[in-house]
């Protein structure tokens, strides 16, 4: 692993994402890396369910609000730790978007929580994290 000069912290506002963020910031401090706080609005999930367009738009707006809230929370912590940080809100399938972004922005390490917000307890690993570990070209830290 090369020294990661850019670290991506995936967050969904869940408890495990919070752990991931704390760990990620400490890692970033070690490498003096820039932090991308990434939130992905899972539009593919709502597409199939939401028929009413107005409602969909409202839902989307709510998701964006959540995204701003949780990413700025991570950015704030990173800034407090003396790091450069940027909030990123993406739309699409979570794993795909995280990986695409990491690829495009030369991210050296991806940090994810083990369970997503909708975490299915029967799997110790959320599907987003699992996809990341399988397909990422960069190192992935799965926080607990």
């Amino acid at each position: 692993m090369e020294d990661p000069s850019r670290i991506l912290i995936a967050t969904d506002g869940s408890k495990s994402a919070e752990h991931a963020a704390a760990l990620g910031i400490k890692f970033a401090q070690q490498y003096d890396a820039k932090v991308y706080a990434v939130y992905v609005i899972n539009v593919t999930a709502s597409d199939a369910i939401l028929i009413d367009e107005a409602w969909a738009a409202e839902e989307c707006e709510a998701c964006e609000k959540t995204g701003h809230k949780v990413t700025s929370c991570v950015v704030e912590k990173a800034t407090f730790a003396g790091l450069g940080a940027e909030p990123i809100i993406l739309k699409g399938s979570q794993a795909d978007e995280i990986l695409k972004f990491a690829d495009k922005h030369d991210v050296g390490m991806i940090i994810v929580g083990s369970l997503g917000k909708s975490g299915i307890e029967r799997l110790a690993l959320g599907s987003v994290s699992e996809n990341d570990v399988r397909h990422a070209k960069v190192s992935v830290l799965v926080a607990r």
């Binding site: 692993m1 570990v133 992935v140 830290l141």
Partner: protein, 202 residues
Amino acid sequence: MNNSIFRNIMVATDGSELVRKAVDTAIEIAKLSEAKLYAVYVIALGSYYNSITHSRDSEWIKAIKEQFITEGKEATAYVENAGRDANVEVESVILEGSPADEIIDFAEKNEIDLIVIGTKEKNGMEATAYVENAGRIANVAVKSVIHEGNPADEIIDFAEKNEIDLIVMGTQGKTVIQSFLIGSVAENVVRHSKVPVLVVRG
């Protein structure tokens, strides 16, 4: 780094070239956080016991185990040396059992706060070594070949180019294909560990 986030780090090694990057990363992180590093090698005899219960003698198992112990010592010594160069305290640990289980168990019992593991494992080498050994006992000439790529394509390609008359393979192909993306040990550790796991691309 004074606010040490990791005090006890462990790196899993199988003695192959494939884990070098994971070892380097583990040492670097241990150095940065002034942590102690455990170099863990697991002797996995499970598959050997299961597949040779009736036809092969215990001498053979003993010989294989000896071979694993030697390999384990070499693998952990490599980490120790790298640690010495980087001024990192390294403790070698050799365990026996199912690798993922042993790694997780050790991490929990020894207050490990980060597990570093590579994505690639020497599945290929171990698998071919197994056939080689079985061939030696049955007096059959075995030539080991390891290819990288899409398993089905590579197998067909190799067969065509080498005038192969018969391809023999098991039905449980899925694990083979999966192991090309991420090793089964790494996968199991990520799934079941209660400790953070850093998966390093090989």
